[in-house]
């Protein structure tokens, strides 16, 4: 194979377009109840993040934040396949993964707003959403680290014999950092019950993954380096994700070790709040917006006989929940000044001296 940049100038790599056949997984053996559940999650994620975006625009969310609009099928598909005591490790782009585990919207929204009713009382922020009680073991904002931490949770589950599985989400750009390599080898060596999920949205921040990666599929083409099978799935089709997730989680639970799943997807917007995403070819953006996981899934459910009215009801219920969460978040108090000084240490405080 040719090396990147050996056959194209920087920025002149070809566009990567989504699949055309929307019906591929219509016939998959997935319960309709599971599927409507997935649909509801997709709606929650989409509507929640759309609202979050509005709140940024209204200057209510400070700092930065990273939306996964367009990428929801991965979070929803995995969320549906996980057991309630499984562990999620996500990134700064972690709103959807947090909702996927059943974390209520209000504390998530309130955390974005820096309020005392936030999930971490305003101390963590959008990039660090965590709800241990829901198995949401954290959102990590330095590239690479959390793959190694997910291993630790998987090791602990293996040691304790609980059958829990750790699922770790990260982006295409993350496959080029050292910790990725260490984590994958480590997981394979000790056959840890962990599933690594590369959400390949084709870009790191503003740089195309093809420009700075030696292989076409940044995760799948490296699986063999860890003795693992190579898998690329359609990350915009929640059923494809659900099937791959179920298989990988099953494998992990059965003691057969880790998996590495590369899910192809796309973000509708820019990398973060500050980014309009203009470095991407227009027709690429347009093609992927047309291959939106949510209408895709809705259309499938309709083909499978679900009433439009039932789906409309879900949409409406979700809208209500988002409205309520927004209200409750905005109504939240600012964190108390004392809270800045709690929980550095296990004794609850922050004192470093006697």
């Amino acid at each position: 194979m040719k090396l990147p940049l050996s056959d194209h100038e920087y920025g002149e790599h070809g566009a990567v377009l989504p699949p055309q056949n929307h019906a591929t997984h219509d016939g998959a053996d997935i319960d309709l109840a599971v599927r409507t559940g997935i649909y509801r999650k997709l709606q929650e994620m989409r509507q929640f993040e759309s609202r979050a975006y509005d709140l940024f625009m209204r200057q209510l969310v400070k700092g930065t934040s990273h939306l996964s609009l367009g990428m929801e099928a991965i979070a929803a598909g995995f969320g549906a396949a996980m057991r309630s005591d499984d562990y999620t490790f996500a990134t700064y782009r972690g709103h959807a993964h947090t909702l996927a585990r059943g974390v209520p919207m209000t504390p998530v929204m309130a955390e974005l707003l820096g309020r005392s009713n936030g999930l971490m009382s305003g101390k963590g922020g959008s990039m660090h959403l965590t709800s241990v009680e829901h198995g949401m073991m954290g959102s990590y904002a330095i590239i690479g680290a959390h793959l190694t931490i997910a291993n630790g949770a998987a090791w602990s589950a293996q040691y304790r014999g609980t059958g829990q599985v750790a699922v770790c989400f990260f982006g295409d750009g993350t496959t080029n950092i050292g910790a990725f390599h260490e984590a994958l080898n480590y997981a394979a060596v000790y056959r840890l019950p962990v599933v690594f999920v590369c959400e390949n949205n084709l870009y790191m921040e503003y740089t195309a993954i093809a420009d700075i990666t030696a292989v076409q599929h940044p995760a799948a083409d490296r699986a063999s380096a860890y003795g693992l099978g190579s898998q690329v799935i359609d990350g915009n089709d929640a059923d494809a994700v659900y099937l791959a997730a179920s298989a990988a989680i099953e494998r992990a639970r059965a003691g057969e070790g880790p998996s590495l799943v590369e899910a192809l997807t796309y973000r509708h917007g820019g990398h973060s709040r500050a980014d309009p995403g203009k470095y991407r070819p227009e027709h690429e953006v347009a093609a992927w917006k047309a291959y939106d996981p949510i209408p895709l899934y809705r259309a499938r459910l309709v083909r499978l006989g679900v009433e439009e009215a039932e789906l409309d009801l879900i949409d409406k219920e979700v809208a209500g929940a988002v409205d309520l969460a927004t209200e409750e978040a905005i109504a939240g108090d600012l964190p108390s000044p004392e809270s800045a000084f709690t929980d550095v240490w296990a004794d609850g405080g922050s004192s470093w001296r006697n």
């Binding site: 690479g144 993350t174 950092i177 000084f341």
Partner: protein, 325 residues
């Protein structure tokens, strides 16, 4: 004389040196096509082309290793580590390789390179994207360490850093990127290792760095209104350290304060306070006080972040109280 933002000054400083010396090259994540995530390298790809301005993978160790190997063999690279917090993933290359190699090889290896980075808090980015870590670098022999606080200093110190044959850690303050200042026309070359007295005073010496400089100046304004004449020194360079300027100020004022954004323990102020407690001891009319962020990770909520970082008010209050007692 132009009004320039701090962020534009970064690009101007680099461009000035790239024009002068074609051994100067720039690498980092999103520095080329995007002009940097903080827009500090805008225009450089267009002017100098893709051989000299290069986007990299998310591989901080590979970035700094490449810069080091190139510096050893004839280039003068500028490498960007996007947020200074990310030094933690490539600290080995900085402290074990870049800092020590000249010494270990008895001077055979020269390392003319600059590592630039976005440092500091105030942007509500939370604990992993807001750290002030000049002290990490100051603790490692073999690294020069600068933090400019004005656009003019950005240009001149960048030039001095690029021209230095030693590795320079160049800390840009993220909270200052949109601040503006006058920058003289033409080439500007400052010198490393020099502090600047930003405001003369007679009752107390206040040392500050980066974004704490404007806050210290604002505090001095407040203090002036309360009859206290504070001298504000912009430390600018931690290594080499301009102990002459600092100790001579102390000898005139008799009181020393540091304003530090970093967590309390072993911030850069601890070194200067210790030097003062040894060499300036007999000049001291009272305790040395360090005004720092408490020893906690930085919270993300705006109200909490504002609460814990030193502010003009907290500086003024601390200095006033200390001088009264």
């Amino acid at each position: 004389m132009a009004q320039l933002t701090y962020r534009d000054a970064v690009a101007r400083g680099i461009a000035q040196e790239m024009r002068r010396d074609e051994r100067v090259v720039l690498i980092g994540e999103d520095v080329a096509g995007a002009g940097g995530v903080f827009k500090t390298t805008v225009g450089l790809l267009a002017e100098f082309g893709p051989k000299r301005v290069i986007d990299t993978p998310i591989s901080e160790q590979a970035i700094l290793g490449a810069a080091m190997g190139a510096a050893m063999t004839g280039l003068r690279p500028v490498a960007e580590i996007m947020f200074s917090d990310f030094f933690a993933v490539c600290w080995d290359i900085v402290v074990n390789e870049i800092a020590k190699t000249r010494y270990m090889t008895d001077g055979q290896v020269v390392l003319p390179l600059v590592i630039k980075t976005g440092n500091g808090g105030g942007l509500r980015f939370g604990a992993q994207h807001s750290q002030s870590i000049e002290n990490w670098a100051m603790a490692v022999p073999g690294l020069k360490v600068v933090t400019p606080s004005t656009p003019e200093d950005v240009v001149g110190l960048m030039a001095a850093a690029v021209r230095s044959d030693d590795p320079v850690m160049f800390f840009e303050h993220k909270g200052l990127y949109s601040s503006k200042g006058e920058v003289p026309d033409g080439d500007i070359v400052d010198s490393l290792g020099t502090a600047k007295i930003r405001r003369p005073g007679t009752d107390a010496t206040i040392l500050a760095l980066g974004m704490m400089v404007p806050r210290a100046l604002a505090a001095a304004d407040q203090l002036a209104g309360r009859g206290i004449s504070a001298e504000v020194i912009d430390v600018r360079s931690l290594v080499p350290l301009d102990t002459a300027t600092i100790l001579s100020s102390l000898s005139r004022t008799g009181r020393l304060f540091t304003v530090e954004e970093n967590p309390r323990l072993l911030g850069w102020g601890a070194e200067i306070a210790s030097i003062a407690a040894e060499e300036g001891f007999w000049d001291l009319d009272g305790p040395i006080q360090r005004i720092t962020t408490p020893h906690i990770p930085l919270p993300s909520a705006d109200s909490l972040e504002d609460l814990v970082m030193p502010s003009a008010d907290s500086v003024a209050t601390t200095v006033e109280k200390a001088l009264q007692s």
